[in-house]
């Protein structure tokens, strides 16, 4: 296993890590001072050279995104921080907000300086009552210390940072739905282009970045782009937070090298710690429930954007969900399909109509009512929403459509026998224990 210096989690668990004093005692806000001593364009350049890529799902190069904001535009520039964290299997941004909110705030301050942005909105998911309160306390501390407000750390640069809490809608994590929600509307994604960096919030250029993405920015300014890029792979700088959940001994958030493989993640004693007694890995979702599933013989793969893309799946949001041999994959896929049907905003026909159909067909198969032709029908419905592979050909306004179809394509093609035996036996072979429960609520 490759050991890597911790960038994001270095203060977690330290007493007072979520306070300004605690943050400052480990060199906090030093990077902001360094940034303010440079020209804004230089800061963006540094982030470009660091090879930082977005941690929200798509892995888009961050510096390049900042570079899309038009120069000399008459409108204000906005920063929208995506703290909506709702992709099933993902829980890293929660931990950043709870353990080190000033790391995010320093990243926001540096980013706003680089973008000449004077208003940042942090859009956090409505269910984050505790994390949001911690973040609001940190924001108040930063104002009281003169970091935000009329001046930015003593420099004549006004900056308002405001947290807006969502109210329970996965779709508002999609960047244009997020902007609609920030504009006080229901979360209906917008057609792209134009992209938010050109036409975003209130019609003005807006950069949307994930919490973890921005939490990487202070270290890049403090230690330099070359150091940061060197932590990662050729095309992807830094470390990654991996959220490990499901059937595994030590679920949790781990800061890993981009070169760490899924197998190491699951079996290393300091990471996942292996499988529960007597259980084997059957299937692993590598990047949040939208990412195509991998089978047990595909785990020798680095948890990094390019490597996972080569396996026709994605690093996504870093949510790794492990399913063991006592788990029914039809039931698992049914639950995932139900999620997308529930969360579809209803704007595009293939997604609005297709996602409930996927759910109904899967339910029928799991409940022992499956018939010949059901699997073909299921795949047909999925293809109408988004064909696969490759990823990204969806017939819909936003990528929720793709996200709903990809699990269906991948589960059915990789575990066809299990689906077929449900239909042939006219029942779920796992009986009343389809999840093979273990843990606290065994």
């Amino acid at each position: 296993m490759i050991e890597v210096e911790k960038v994001i989690t270095k203060n977690w668990g330290r007493p007072g890590s979520n306070t300004l004093d605690g943050y400052r005692s480990t060199g906090g806000y030093r990077a902001l001072e360094k940034a303010l001593a440079q020209a804004p364009a230089q800061v963006t350049e540094e982030v470009k050279r660091s090879n930082l890529r977005g941690r929200g799902g798509a892995g888009f190069p961050t510096g390049m995104k900042w570079g899309f904001v038009p120069k000399d535009n008459p409108k204000p520039v906005y920063l929208a921080v995506n703290a909506d964290e709702s992709e099933p299997g993902t829980f890293k941004d929660r931990y950043i907000l709870e353990n080190d909110p000033h790391l995010l705030l320093e990243g926001i301050a540096i980013t706003c300086y680089a973008l000449n942005c004077h208003q940042a909105y942090i859009y956090s998911r409505g269910e984050f009552k505790g994390p949001s309160a911690t973040l609001d306390r940190a924001i108040a501390e930063a104002y009281a210390a003169g970091i935000f407000g009329k001046q930015l750390m003593g420099k004549p640069f006004a900056l308002d940072v405001y947290q807006v809490r969502g109210a329970g809608a996965y779709i508002c994590g999609e960047e244009t739905a997020l902007l609609e929600s920030l504009e006080g509307k229901k979360g209906w994604p917008r057609l792209k282009p134009p992209f938010p960096a050109v036409v975003g919030l209130f019609g003005a250029p807006t950069v949307v970045n994930n919490v973890e993405t921005l939490a990487n920015v202070p270290a890049i300014l403090d230690r330099g782009a070359a150091w940061y890029a060197g932590l990662g792979t050729e095309k992807s700088g830094g470390t990654r937070l991996i959220c490990l959940s499901g059937s595994v001994n030590r679920p949790g958030v781990y800061e890993c090298s981009m070169k760490t493989t899924l197998k190491e993640l699951i079996f290393e004693p300091t990471l996942g710690g292996g499988m529960p007694p007597g259980r084997q890995v059957k299937a692993v979702i590598p990047g949040g429930s939208s990412a195509p599933v991998l089978s047990a013989d595909e785990l020798d793969v680095a948890m990094e954007f390019e490597a996972l893309k080569a396996k026709n799946t994605m690093a996504g949001s870093g949510g790794v969900i492990v399913m063991d041999d006592a788990t029914c994959l039809v039931r698992s896929l049914w639950r995932v399909a139900r999620f997308y049907a529930e969360e579809s905003c209803g704007q595009c026909t293939p997604c609005r109509e297709g996602t409930p159909w996927q759910t109904r067909i899967l339910r029928k198969i799991e409940e022992g009512r499956g018939e010949a032709g059901d699997l073909e029908l299921l795949l047909h419905v999925a293809s109408t929403i988004a064909p696969f592979p490759p990823i990204g050909l969806g017939n819909t306004i936003c990528a929720l459509g793709d996200a709903a179809a990809l699990p269906v394509h991948s589960f059915v093609s990789k575990f066809k026998l299990e689906f077929q035996s449900h239909i042939a036996q006219r029942k779920c072979p796992f009986g009343d224990a389809p999840w093979g429960h273990f843990g606290g609520f065994a």
Partner: protein, 162 residues
Amino acid sequence: MAVLLFSAEQQQKFDSGLVEILSHYPADRKSAAMLPALRLLQSLKGWLPPAGLEQVAERLGTTREKAYEVATFYVMFFTRQPGKYVLDVCTNLSCSLRGAEKVLAALEQKLGLKAGSANDRFTLRETECLASCGTGPCLQVNEDHHESLTPAKLDALVATFT
């Protein structure tokens, strides 16, 4: 006589809360403050009564229909009064792999209520991933988070309901 929406004290909280909220938005974009304004209303009333939606719409310079449209889009907003305790149990994949369906069944039995239904005391719902998958199964009670549930923990929680 029309029933007053707010007590004097609530009205004062609503007014000053709105001033604070609106200070973070461009002056010509008041209606953007819809989510924070609805959250403020719900924190005062426990739900979003029609007269409250009307007042929010008026203050934000928009229509009642717009306020309803937003209020009904998001699952955490209540346009009908929910039970005293709103229980949202995550049954998404990671939590189900650690017993979420059993948590839900246990609650249905303890509260005498099916998931997806409500009475004066309880609203019991299945919810989607709460971003706490490593510490599942988990649930929220009136937005307070409870995780790594065991049968004993669930019993203790239920015992706190009055």
